[in-house]
Symmetry: C2
Subunit: 486 residues, 2 copies
């Protein structure tokens, strides 16, 4: 949205209309802007810097594990995509196609990568020769194009940014472990950094990635009860290594197909963060992922000398915080009123605010205001680092706690299909219910309620319960999570 | 190239055939691989990690200066490109075009960004309102598509990675300063990190960026005497702010067009690094930009106990180096002979090698081998950090010195056009010669010799000399640098 057109009136309340609230917050907090390209957003610095934080954390973990970064072309010849039939079928409707380049019509069209399995695995066949080359662990950070009909900023856009890990292993077991390893990273970054409690589990056969043996997923419970698939990790088995003719010689000199995995997390994660943590005042960014953890706001003074003292004091405090590795921003702008400044930084979700005026300078104090609960407290100047450290920790923990509460409160066990339908029609929730595993029941439920299977939770995989399918009443071993997808 | 097909024979000599040498080095050192896409390369970890180092350094400087990272869509509607006529004309022949998406023909085609001025400045018009919004300083790290006819890995590829800075300023003067500020960053990263001495100057009217008022450029002298344009910084004046209707209100409330700049450095920089520093043994990466600055190689031992001691000692040394922030890799592979291992790490250009065998362990010593001059030296174990620090510094300085020598030795002052033509036909050099500034002379010289104007050096801009144009003999104020472009 054009900044000039953003109305100065209050935000709509999140609880009243979360969709409208979301669209207003992403514009007003200057996270995104609409572009001239259908369904593609412009990521402004305020959101791109969150992505940089996410990237830094994940990239560090990947590298520590021995995953190396590569970069593959974004154009994929259509014939490569045709090699794995399921994969092609899954992505065909969403492709954007280059038919013309350098002033000429192309003989063979290129598609903009909707994911890079095909172009990467074509090359794996050249690179992998022997068991010594395995495991082969790579990743790339890149842009992806999927031509979606309905789009929302971050959640579903025709272009987005992500990382995609691609690996090859000697054994099935190792591939499975890698799939789960990636899933753990995703669960951890959501829990420990984005302060989001998720459901982690396995997708149904129908909902899995086109071309995978098994797909695992992180599912976020949005406060309106809907589900956001927030990252996925695929055990590809030897599906792709067969069609792309990837082979390795084992110790005995025998040729084998390696077992593969792929896994990705995208800028959609920022949408999850906004939806889960935001409130009626705007965005709330968890301290561990916040590009700016602390904003120092100067209180305007009538006396010019006071003003100078306030600014000097603020800069000293900023320097001390930065020295201690906090990410800090200083707002000493006097063109706007104090109230406007507070609203502005609350809107943008900076977790901790330090207010500094003439009184604070005189008494060697600071006023701290938490973004998560709006509580203000005056503290001693010499307690700066201790207080900021502990407040940021408290905010981080409190946000996670709130997210856990949302998750738990928005999940309900149901064993009656009439009740299931009522929830689907009314205010939505995650429903945990027995399902027999039959595709027909899954399809009928989706058709009748818009609720799809989200996951079978990972800690339930090895347990068998005795139950009856909520739809057909036949024997069911597991309770699955159902919800309406974002 | 398929790894399996790379012949085990020696590299061609750089001095014999630099083009062939280059292609062999980029394959053998596993920097790139060919892809299924015409002219697009796959960046393997060994080159992508160099790009990550470059990115880290530049990104830090940009951020310290107040430039913030954004991300804009990679698709640009064709009508946006049409707004600035010169810009369109310049990029038209190289465009790749999406005509089909989501199963439908598009009404309006999208081009893959050949650069992002148009899509970014369309939005600047929405974001910039008042003088308080200026300077507006943004950057993006992204992929770029230009459909080139002749391609070389890194130097000219149909897709490449770069950063593009885009700024808007209140005054002409401020825009000029920003253009020069970016140019300084580029000169500095080449000199202080990539150890490459360049020519820095202004492009001729014909060679400037399509849509710019002035283009400044960093030109690298390749050892074969050819020129590599290694980064550019454009003073756009108000060319784009006029056509995209970008306005700001000044303090008096008057509407003005801001003055703009754009500047970029790409993965081509890696090509420059390879060409300038490589030798007959392969790549040489300057320590300050090397993803791995030190490789520790274990010498195979006959005695198993010795082998264990060697490995333990090597790991201790690696840990100590890492603790001191060196980037280190350990090669304790015993499947390959010691000679093979040495050749392999020389090929990959790791600046410093530590050899550790039973003798080193027994005598508490280390053997250090410099990649730049192959000199070996035994040093005391307790001098590890001092020795590695000083050796890496010496290597960095030596590489820069060599690059300065190449630059100076490959540049010649010429005042006679017959001599100019001889150099152009024979072994190439950079030629410094008077030129009157007339487009016709420039075109004729290019047509007759393939030599184009590279730059008028920046320290010559304000000096006026008395000379005669090397082509037409008319009055000329400046000596320009001419060379054959890569």
């Amino acid at each position: 949205m054009n900044d000039k057109k953003i109305k100065k009136k209050n935000l709509v309340k999140k609880s009243q209309n979360i969709s409208k609230w979301y669209n207003e917050v992403v514009s007003r907090a200057k996270l995104v802007d609409q572009s001239e390209v259908k369904g593609a957003m412009i990521m402004r610095a305020n959101s791109f810097e969150i992505w940089e934080q996410i990237k830094k954390v994940l990239d560090g973990w990947f590298k520590d594990y021995g995953v190396r970064n590569y970069y593959f072309p974004m154009l994929i010849p259509h014939y490569l995509l045709e090699k794995e039939k399921e994969h092609l079928k899954g992505f065909s409707p969403e492709l954007a196609v280059v038919t013309h380049a350098g002033g000429k019509d192309l003989k063979e069209p290129y598609v903009l990568r909707p994911t890079s399995e095909t172009i990467i695995y074509k090359t794996f066949a050249d690179w992998i020769e022997s068991y010594r080359d395995l495991p082969f662990l790579i990743n790339q950070w890149c842009n992806i194009v999927r031509w979606e009909k309905r789009t929302y900023p971050f959640l579903r856009t025709s272009e987005f940014l992500w990382q995609e890990g691609h690996t090859a292993h000697k054994t099935k077991e190792q591939a499975k472990n890698m799939t789960l390893r990636a899933l753990k990273w995703y669960e951890k970054i959501y829990k420990d950094y984005l302060a989001i409690s998720s459901y982690v589990g396995i997708k149904s056969e129908q909902e899995k990635f086109a071309g995978a043996k098994k797909t695992y997923s992180i599912e976020i419970v949005v406060p309106n009860g809907k589900a956001l698939q927030a990252a996925t990790s695929h055990n590809l088995g030897d599906n792709f290594s067969k069609v792309f003719n990837i082979n390795f010689l084992d110790k005995k000199g025998k040729k084998n197909h390696p077992f593969q995995t792929s896994w990705g997390l995208s800028t959609r994660s920022i949408g999850g963060l906004i939806l889960v943590h935001g409130d009626d005042a705007g965005l709330i960014i968890p301290p561990k992922i916040a590009p700016n953890q602390v904003v120092i706001i100067t209180v305007p003074c009538k006396d010019k000398k006071d003003q100078e003292r306030v600014e000097k004091y603020s800069k000293e405090i900023m320097a001390e915080l930065e020295k201690n590795n906090f990410r800090v921003i200083l707002d000493s702008d006097n063109n706007h009123g104090f109230g406007f400044k507070i609203n502005n930084w609350e809107l943008k979700g900076i977790p901790l605010r330090l207010e500094i005026g003439a009184n604070e300078v005189k008494n060697k104090k600071l006023t701290l205001a938490r973004r998560d609960n709006f509580k203000k407290q005056e503290v001693e100047r010499d307690q700066l680092i201790n207080e900021v450290t502990s407040k940021l920790e408290m905010i981080q923990n409190n946000l996670l706690k709130k997210s856990q509460d949302i998750r738990n409160n928005m999940t309900i066990e149901v064993d009656d299909y009439e009740e299931f339908k009522k929830i689907a029609q009314g205010s939505k929730k995650f429903i945990r219910a027995f399902w027999c595993g039959n595709k027909k029941c899954e399809n009928n439920i989706k058709h009748e309620t818009k609720f799809s299977t989200r996951v079978l939770e990972i800690d339930q995989l090895d347990k068998k319960e005795k139950g009856k399918c909520i739809y057909c009443g036949r024997k069911a071993d597991h309770k699955w999570l159902f919800a309406q997808s974002y």
